[in-house]
């Protein structure tokens, strides 16, 4: 006997619902029973496995501006329809539509506890924000790729609707969510590592079990042209602060940085400065703080005229457990200060 059809609720925006483009961005929350717009194509892909029982749409501006009210309405419409899975988009690389899909995803994962799948271009900003809330199927940059994107979206929607969860990203093809889950395997880690090593030695390139996340590439800044005219600054993630930690900087999971004067100091005096970093033994840097803030050497080069002047304060935080978004934010704030003080180059140290 055939299995029960998976019930899908589909969220789209005013454009894909045929209401209109930008000018209709404030159109109200509406719905219909059955598929609409891209849902029609989605239905062709799911065959007899599933059905879109309800389609919900709203103007992108409205849902972003009055999120609370609109999401309450969406919650009600989803609850009524009793879906096995909610699908939102695909929103490709559209900004507000992507965010709207993300908001619907978070509503489903956190409040309604319904499995949710959205379609987004991998670099859509909503991916970073909502990837823990939804399975995100990687889509083309624009709707031109719709035809190519729908089969995958349909396959995962059916699977997710039936099982309530999916296998690992690397097997299923959705964007990695940043979760690691335990699973049973036949061979222990040592055996797998040796196998991997043997393959590597044989010139093959076996995939790693723990892929590292990608990091944004920033092109290196142009070098200093004339060091003898340069202002140089010191920045450290090594947690070296004045005794007593006057700003109560956190010892891990930094959410702020400190700025402290080194005016007139030939070196960072032991006793007056202390390492408070929660991630390494500060015995050696407490003994000689220049081991993490190399002030003595910089003063010498300043005196010798290798560069013009050392900025009379240094920047510090404890770089441990700091997530990329926070590091970026603090890094940008420090960079802004350096820029304002006309610093030509900065020396960073990290522990």
């Amino acid at each position: 006997m055939a299995e029960k059809k998976v019930r899908i609720v589909h969220y789209i925006n005013q454009f894909f619902a045929g209401i209109g483009g930008e000018e209709k961005g404030s159109s109200p929350l509406e719905h219909c029973e059955g598929p609409k717009g891209p849902g029609v194509g989605l239905m062709q892909q799911v065959g007899n496995e599933a059905e879109i029982v309800r389609t919900i749409w709203c103007g992108d501006n409205l849902v972003n501006q009055e999120s609370e009210r609109i999401l309450a309405g969406i919650a009600e419409l989803i609850r009524e329809a009793k879906p096995d899975v909610v699908v939102a988009g695909p929103a490709f690389n559209a900004g507000r539509y992507g965010l709207a899909c993300g908001m619907v995803a978070r509503l489903c994962s956190q409040t309604l506890k319904v499995p949710v799948l959205i379609g987004l271009y991998p670099e859509n900003p909503a991916v970073e924000i909502y990837r823990r809330d939804a399975y995100i199927w990687p889509c083309a940059e624009t709707a031109v790729g719709m035809r190519k994107d729908l089969p995958g979206l349909a396959r995962l929607a059916v699977k997710l609707g039936r099982a309530g969860t999916l296998g690992p990203a690397i097997e299923e093809g959705y964007l990695p969510r940043g979760f690691r889950s335990n699973e049973y395997v036949a061979k222990n880690a040592a055996e797998r590592a040796i196998e991997m090593l043997m393959k590597r030695l044989a010139g093959q390139n076996p995939p790693t079990e723990i892929p590292l996340r990608g990091f944004e590439k920033v092109p290196p800044a142009a070098p200093v042209q004339d060091l003898s005219k340069a202002t140089v600054a010191i920045v450290t993630g090594g947690g070296m602060v004045p005794r007593g930690n006057p700003d109560k900087l956190k010892q891990a999971f930094a959410d702020a940085y400190g700025t402290y004067s080194i005016a007139g100091l030939p070196e960072l005096p032991a006793g007056d400065f202390k390492g408070i970093h929660g991630g390494y033994d500060s015995t050696w840097v407490d003994e000689d703080p220049d081991r993490v803030v190399p002030l003595d050497a910089l003063r010498q080069f300043e005196k010798e005229g290798r560069f013009k002047v050392l900025l009379n304060e240094y920047y510090v935080l404890c770089g441990i457990g700091t997530n990329v978004a926070m590091a970026k934010k603090l890094g940008a704030r420090i960079a802004e200060q350096l820029k304002r003080k006309e610093v030509s180059a900065a020396i960073y140290t990290s522990t």
């Binding site: 990091f215 290196p220 800044a221 993490v292 080069f301 180059a345 900065a346 020396i347 522990t351």
Partner: protein, 80 residues
Amino acid sequence: MQKEAERAGIPTALITAIPSVAKSVGVSRIITGGGIPYPAGNPSLPRDREIEFRRRLVAKALEAVSTAVKEPTVFDVSIA
């Protein structure tokens, strides 16, 4: 953090004991330091040699920020 300074047009050099991590996250100019809990030193060296080592690290950092690079580049310093 360095990348934000680079983005703002300020060249940076990072003294770190773990250049591989710095490289993988995309730090432009990397100086291999003395050790994780003492990037700009090495307490196992006699005092005068440690000071010379730090001088070399900082000299290399100054050289690095004066050098054009296209991608993460590691600059090495010999122990004094």
